[in-house]
């Protein structure tokens, strides 16, 4: 399959461009490089990140806010982050600010608490997002608005919210319905309608599905494509980022990597040929700064690799995943959570730990909070003692609605039940239902091991934020009908003997720095990570391919950064010639150590 090289064209590009896809596929790099191309063709471009854990700052080497900021070295390019927590703070301030001095402090505080819930956070971000698309005046100074979105699950929710609220308002009959925090924004309804229309207009909006030449990423792109088509976003194309070909026939690692990419593309050929599809080759360097971004879409040059002097460099001390498991299992029960940026392999690491614990005779439950996760595919097969589940937002919402009607509806008259049923259809209900499901999964760790694969950082941060907001609200209430697992959630997450958090990263700049920022956020919430896991390392791969050699050398500083600055304990996992799918491959991965790494690659082929 020979696909054309991705070259954004100022003459044919739509006004709105959305870059979406699984975590770690290169959405931020590609959206920045595209913005740069358009700017260099004389256009004015606004680049917007909707990821709560945005990496635009690092890639553009510029401190960004929720207002457009000019980017040095790229005249005509402005960039901004829509940070949901900050958007919610601004929304709160809009309501509370004018009341200062007019209302007593206690009343202001209770307003603030109510407006700190996860639904407010979600709505406020959505409001800023749709303001840029649906309000004709908002971005009128720009020829193009490019959205670098959060990993899939979060983005689907953001894009479908416009429709969800629109439909909810349409179907609402009582006029006293639950608009939640939207009530303060209700006058914007015309903007939400315009957002829905613009997203569906092929002459205005392009959805760029970004993937890697990798099975899981391509499958997720295909799912996203279908879901967004279903809500009307029809003008789509695909960019496969990081394709790799080697000129090194004797290099087993390079051959395996090339082969792995080819098989993934072949398996997805039907999807790939269903829409305009393009490739961007793997580059030897981390794509950072304006210079790095130019390399990404340069047709010929692969960027110069400045190799560090190898002499005298010894890798820092790192454990195997099995070593971590041996410590964890001493407790006999508890929760293990994998966290980190999208695409770093959280699901793989979670599944490998679950398999290993189960094979050592423990009762294990493997679950995920990621709406776009592929746990079952990664596990691919039954393991004795291991059960599997997934927090499915739609199913959780339906179950929660049913549960509330059953528990509360009994004490109500018919009119009350009808009103409650109607309000429970509010899009806000999903936030509560997912939060409770998260608490339930954590609670299951009291009697066994629960391994929780979390959604990419941004989504997880919002979940933890909701936990704290709920805790504050619960503390104010005398009467509570909340289940024990909700009441104890934060206490359990903060107990280092009960919850073990593994920060998973690749040995690259952005994933390491995102994990470091996540660690700081966790520490602020009094949750201490147990260990870091470095995944897909090329260390000791012994490659003779110059591009891979260069990537291996560039790992060094990040390995050192993790071991020496960030982590209490660090486990190391090698890059795999085949996607680690199935119990045996996962167990094998977990027992890999740095010393045997080189032998393994040769054995696999």
């Amino acid at each position: 399959m020979k696909l054309p090289f991705y070259q954004p064209d100022a003459a044919t590009s739509t006004r709105f461009l959305f870059f979406t896809g699984k975590g770690g596929v290169g959405k931020t790099s590609l959206s920045c490089a595209t913005a740069l191309k358009l700017v260099e063709a004389g256009k004015r471009v606004l680049l917007v990140s909707t990821d709560p854990a945005s990496n635009l700052d690092e890639v553009l080497e510029t401190k960004l806010t929720n207002q457009p900021t000019p980017i040095a070295g790229a005249p005509g390019l402005d960039a901004m982050n829509i940070n949901p927590v900050e958007a919610a703070a601004a929304y709160r301030e809009r309501l509370i600010g004018p009341m200062r001095g007019l209302l007593p402090e206690a009343a202001l505080r209770s307003m603030e608490e109510q407006l700190s819930g996860s639904c407010t956070v979600e709505i406020a971000a959505f409001d800023e997002f749709s303001g840029l698309i649906g309000n004709p005046d908002a971005a009128k100074d720009y020829d193009h608005v490019i959205f670098d979105t959060a990993p899939t699950g979060h983005t689907l929710r953001l894009m479908s919210l416009a429709k969800a609220w629109d439909q909810f308002l349409d179907k609402n009959t009582s006029g006293t319905s639950c608009l939640g925090p939207l009530a303060g924004l209700e006058k914007q309804r015309v903007i939400y309608e315009a957002t829905v229309n613009t997203l569906a207009d092929a002459s205005a909006t392009t959805l760029v599905l970004v993937s890697r030449p990798q099975g899981a990423a391509l499958r997720e792109a295909e799912r996203t494509s279908k879901e967004l088509r279903a809500i009307g976003v029809g003008n789509q194309c695909l960019v496969v980022n990081g394709t790799f070909e080697t000129d090194c026939p004797e290099d087993v690692t390079a051959q395996a990597m090339q082969q792995r990419g080819l098989s993934a593309l072949t398996a997805a050929s039907e999807f790939i040929s269903s829409m305009p599809s393009f490739i961007v080759p793997l580059r030897p360097i981390n794509i950072l700064g304006i210079g790095g971004l130019r390399v990404l879409l340069s047709g010929d040059g692969q960027g110069k690799c400045v190799k560090a002097d190898e002499s005298g460099w010894t890798p820092p001390e790192m454990e195997s995943l099995e070593d971590l498991v041996a410590t964890i299992e001493q407790q006999g029960n508890g929760v293990i959570m994998t966290m980190g940026k999208g695409g770093v392999g959280k699901t793989t690491v979670a599944a490998a730990i679950a398999v290993m614990l189960a094979r050592r005779g423990h009762s294990v439950h493997l679950s995920t909070t990621d709406p776009a996760a592929h746990v079952a595919q990664t596990l691919h097969g039954k393991v004795e003692g291991l059960t599997l589940s997934k927090i499915d937002p739609a199913a959780e919402t339906a179950a929660y609605q049913g549960e509330v009607m059953l528990a509360q509806g009994a004490a109500m008259d018919d009119a009350g039940r009808a009103l409650l049923e109607e309000d429970l259809r509010s899009p806000c209900t999903e936030e509560i239902a997912v939060f409770r499901a998260f608490a339930r999964e954590v609670g299951r760790g009291t009697g066994r091991f629960v391994v929780l694969d979390t959604a990419p950082t941004g989504h997880t941060l919002l979940l933890l934020d909701a936990s704290e907001a709920y805790q504050r609200e619960l503390e104010r209430q005398a009467r509570s009908t909340q289940p024990e697992e909700v009441l104890k959630l934060l206490e359990r997450l903060r107990d280092p003997d009960f919850t073990r958090i593994l920060l998973v990263t690749l040995p690259e700049a952005t994933p390491v720095h995102e994990a470091a920022a996540l660690q700081e956020d966790l520490l602020r919430a009094r949750i201490e990570p147990f260990a870091w896991v470095i995944n897909q390392s090329l260390l000791n791969s012994g490659s003779c391919d110059p591009l891979l050699q260069c990537r291996e050398a560039s790992e060094h500083r990040y390995l050192r950064e993790v071991v020496e600055k960030q982590a209490k304990r660090t486990a190391w996992l090698p890059w795999q010639a085949e996607e680690p799918v199935g119990p045996d491959a996962l167990a094998h991965l977990a027992s890999s150590s740095l010393l045997q790494a080189r032998g393994d690659v040769i054995q696999t082929l």
């Binding site: 004018p98 925090p181 109500m412 009808a418 209430q477 909340q482």
Partner: protein
């Protein structure tokens, strides 16, 4: 024409479903108000989280908030007089409300 004014604590919706707990008295009360509103009764409802200005502009509400704090909410007024403070009417009280408001027993929607 009778007037009912409700000054709710900050909450997401008339039924409070976005909170950590759902109060059946609150939900039934919301349903009752929407029924009364279809009769010859003027129902006004304000939520501190969404319409704080209404709390400032009503001197009685403002004075009570200043004196007793946010716990005084909800405040429910009948024809401008405080009728209930700090809670919603219970199941047993609701029929009385219908009688007082409509002059007859009526509960079905």
């Amino acid at each position: 024409m009778k007037t009912i004014q409700v000054y709710d604590p900050p909450m997401c919706c008339s039924t409070g479903i976005c909170g950590t707990d759902i109060d059946p008295d609150l939900v039934n009360f919301a349903a009752m108000l929407s029924q009364l509103g279809t009769h010859d009764i003027k129902v006004e409802r304000f939520n501190l989280g969404q319409q704080p200005m209404a709390f400032v502009q009503n001197p009685a509400v403002k004075a009570l908030l200043d004196k007793e704090g946010a716990e005084v909410l909800p405040l429910i007024f009948w024809d401008g007089e405080v009728h209930l403070k700090g809670r919603y009417p219970t199941k047993d009280e609701r029929p009385g409300w219908f009688r007082a408001a409509l002059g007859k027993e009526e509960e079905a929607s």
